[in-house]
């Protein structure tokens, strides 16, 4: 099982994500954003949180045009698995792999705290080990987590069960309390909360471990 963690200038959760993926058994390579393509045989592309390119222009916009992103988009279009956390989610919406966009939090403040999330679907490798409507606690840390999408996109997400997580108490103004969404083929997930910050006892909360365990189980059996 091979995972690639993409590193942009300003990424700051790349190591956390690498440690979490390695702990459940992935062989992880960190890939610099200027690399021309992903190495062969990558099962999972993970785009970490941070402030790529200082959040200049729009969050994720410059990163989404980095050289490696063409290869990530092809990986996604081939049906490859991709997860983007926080800034990674913002980058995925900017590449078009996920619908919608993330705007400034409605309260204008940067929010860093643990929030309660409701698991809205278990039909994905990312959420399969949770139970439907499980409430889990995962930290958020963002200034631009206010998810927005067109009415049509939201309807489609509801019809096709593509909303992965909702906030129990909406912290940032996201439409429909959305904290994480899946692509139509259910293989690309973007989420603002950080499961890699809650996956071992030392974190004081291991609700994120279930997320990584689900991933490893999916790839171990394929």
């Amino acid at each position: 099982m091979k995972a690639a963690v993409i590193v942009f200038p300003g990424s700051n959760c790349d190591r956390d994500l690498t440690v979490a993926l390695e702990m459940v058994g992935f062989e992880v390579s960190k890939i610099w954003h200027k690399d021309p393509e992903l190495e062969k045989g990558i099962d999972l592309v993970a785009i970490p949180g941070g402030f790529s390119f200082g959040d200049y222009l729009r969050v994720g916009a410059i990163a989404a045009n980095s050289p490696i992103c063409e290869s990530i988009i092809s990986h996604g279009e081939r049906g490859g698995y991709i997860v983007g956390v926080c800034n990674g989610f913002q980058i995925l919406t900017e590449t078009g792999l996920l619908p919608g966009a993330l705007l400034r939090n409605s309260g204008l403040k940067y929010i860093c705290k643990t929030v309660a999330l409701k698991v809205e679907t278990t039909d994905s490798v990312f959420t399969q080990k949770y139970s439907l409507s499980n409430v889990i606690k995962i930290p958020i840390a963002h200034h631009d987590g206010n998810y927005n999408a067109s009415v049509n996109d939201i309807e489609k997400m509801k019809d096709q069960d593509l909303i992965a997580f909702r906030y129990c108490d909406n912290p940032n103004g996201s439409i429909e309390d959305i904290a994480g969404v899946l692509s139509s083929n259910r293989r690309v997930l973007g989420m603002m909360p950080h499961p890699e910050r809650a996956f071992e006892k030392a974190h004081g909360n291991s609700d994120g471990m279930t997320f990584f365990k689900g991933l490893v189980e999916a790839f171990a059996t394929t």
């Binding site: 916009a61 919406t93 966009a101 705007l103 409605s106 927005n148």
Partner: protein, 79 residues
């Protein structure tokens, strides 16, 4: 040639920064202000003199990177 691009959030997309500016203006006595939208302006220097070429190049830039069509509109002005 110089060009200026104005990028604004689409109508209906909540602009929390605009709302905060509106409240601040109201609080310092400008009570007649009932709405504020904040956008951004980008100025470009381009080595190209054909206006229609410049315009189509900038449209591509906006679609690819400078604006996000999900939430933003853009207007191009050649200077």
């Amino acid at each position: 040639m110089k060009a200026r691009i104005k990028i604004m959030l689409k109508n209906g997309v909540l602009d929390p920064q605009g709302e905060a500016i509106k409240h601040a203006l109201n609080n310092v006595g400008f009570e007649s202000v009932t709405g504020v939208r904040q956008g951004k302006v980008i100025e470009l220097d381009i080595e190209e003199s054909d206006k229609s070429q410049v315009r189509s190049q900038i449209e591509n830039m906006c679609k690819k990177m400078l604006a996000n069509s999900v939430i933003e509109n853009f207007e191009i002005e050649l200077l």
